[in-house]
Subunit: 216 residues, 3 copies
Amino acid sequence: MIVGSHLLQLALELSGTFVFGLNGALIAMESEHLDLVGVIVLGMTTALGGGILRDVLIGAIPPAAFRDWRYLAVAAGAGLLAFLARQIWVRLGRLINVFDAAGLSLFSVAGTATAFSAHLGPVQSALLGTITAVGGGTLRDIAIRRVPTVFSSGLYAVPAAAGATLTAVALELHFYSGTVAVIAALVCFGIRMTGVHFNLSLPASRPPSADEGSEA
Amino acid sequence: MIVGSHLLQLALELSGTFVFGLNGALIAMESEHLDLVGVIVLGMTTALGGGILRDVLIGAIPPAAFRDWRYLAVAAGAGLLAFLARQIWVRLGRLINVFDAAGLSLFSVAGTATAFSAHLGPVQSALLGTITAVGGGTLRDIAIRRVPTVFSSGLYAVPAAAGATLTAVALELHFYSGTVAVIAALVCFGIRMTGVHFNLSLPASRPPSADEGSEA
Amino acid sequence: MIVGSHLLQLALELSGTFVFGLNGALIAMESEHLDLVGVIVLGMTTALGGGILRDVLIGAIPPAAFRDWRYLAVAAGAGLLAFLARQIWVRLGRLINVFDAAGLSLFSVAGTATAFSAHLGPVQSALLGTITAVGGGTLRDIAIRRVPTVFSSGLYAVPAAAGATLTAVALELHFYSGTVAVIAALVCFGIRMTGVHFNLSLPASRPPSADEGSEA
């Protein structure tokens, strides 16, 4: 039972690390002129940044990404793969969004479970799960000077928070299992892809004078 | 006595959280096209970022913002209020600067006291109080791609450091009290608002060729 | 022996802090309109940021920069010196690159040794040494909105990783000494300056449409 839950957790996290590493590297290559090392480092930032933030905030030091070489290897490998097979990914186009939604789903569930098993309450665990899911991509966006998706596209934090909340409720009420994890991840994935597909958004504010630009 | 000091600390921190949450959300709405979630997240980043940085650096893990739900609620509420009552705030105009100076003052005092009570020395406590005060706004500015106020406006870090130093001296010499906290906060507030009002600044450097822009 | 190794470590770190503080302040003055406090804060960010990141990740709390006043004093002094003697530095031109390569070398060796002495494995120690070396400059670049050197110039992370790896191997095999530290630092310095001099770079990706710009 404990072995099963540990394997489930590891599978969720390594899968999330891989898809976020791919996605992060592809988005980085779209935005800036980067060399091989830059692409791999940004893939690793996207894949590992959220989990490192969570581990620092719950005091799990050194973070899992530094304790277990598999995280580093999977994240670096995904970045390398993105760099080498660039043309294939570009042709597949919208696949970037699918990878991103998959990483978001896997990390919101896995991040919540990690925080909960470090004895945080359900509300805090859900919040830290959401941070795990959106943190890496936000760090990448800041590094390559994009407005972070989490600030400009409401249906990015919302699905992550939904998946994390479902997971935290299940953990608190003692019915968390592989099936529940898959359902929570699918809920997050579904909301995110629905938002992407129909280009849904939340009510927004507008800068007072659009032509003034953002330099204050 | 201990209850009084604890209540004072909590009142300072929750007030600072509220005004920084309002201010952060208003500045974020000025600069970028953001949706509801983005505005609230940036309000929370401004309100809680400095304290989380401080707590990570002094090893108070998980940070207070994750241990006590009131911080999260107050910060999120302030962001929501800023979003809903946008038109009112815009008309009040310069109130943004007053909120910002108030948050700066409350956090420089409260952050110093928190670091000191974690057994750091007076110099380190004053430095961490300054980081508490300027950290959240700096994170927000980086996220929305503004040059952080702390780097471009000298009379931002200076008043925070003044309030923090007064607090640290009072704590070290055992005469810290509610009155001293208010005086230290007023000193910070006064220096900051004087700087804003008269548009004072410190000696500055100029980029070598202004028309070349900042893209290297 | 232990005293010697401790003095070596301190000398490496304070020298690295000084050259990174100078370099960080000079680069900051090149890029943005900053006042005295901004220049000093960015010098300190460059000089101390990498070490603080490392200390947070290995759980050495509070970070050395807050425990030992000499780090703060050296970093702030270097920033002040850069501000005051601006004209001299500008005339010396390419010296910025030399300072930067020196800081990179000293911090990759010293950061690896610090992580290793906190009982991390050799791979993790080398990674954390690399983070110590490139972290401060990356934080500065993000704060002043430059594309971080580590993402756009491959021969920045590579020399740091080379120096860190040599150091970690020597520590693991018990032949680390002052001579080995100097050799590892010189290897890093040599690779970096070779890259700068011949403008070498790694294979790079190109944004799909260069004229579209990087603002998404």
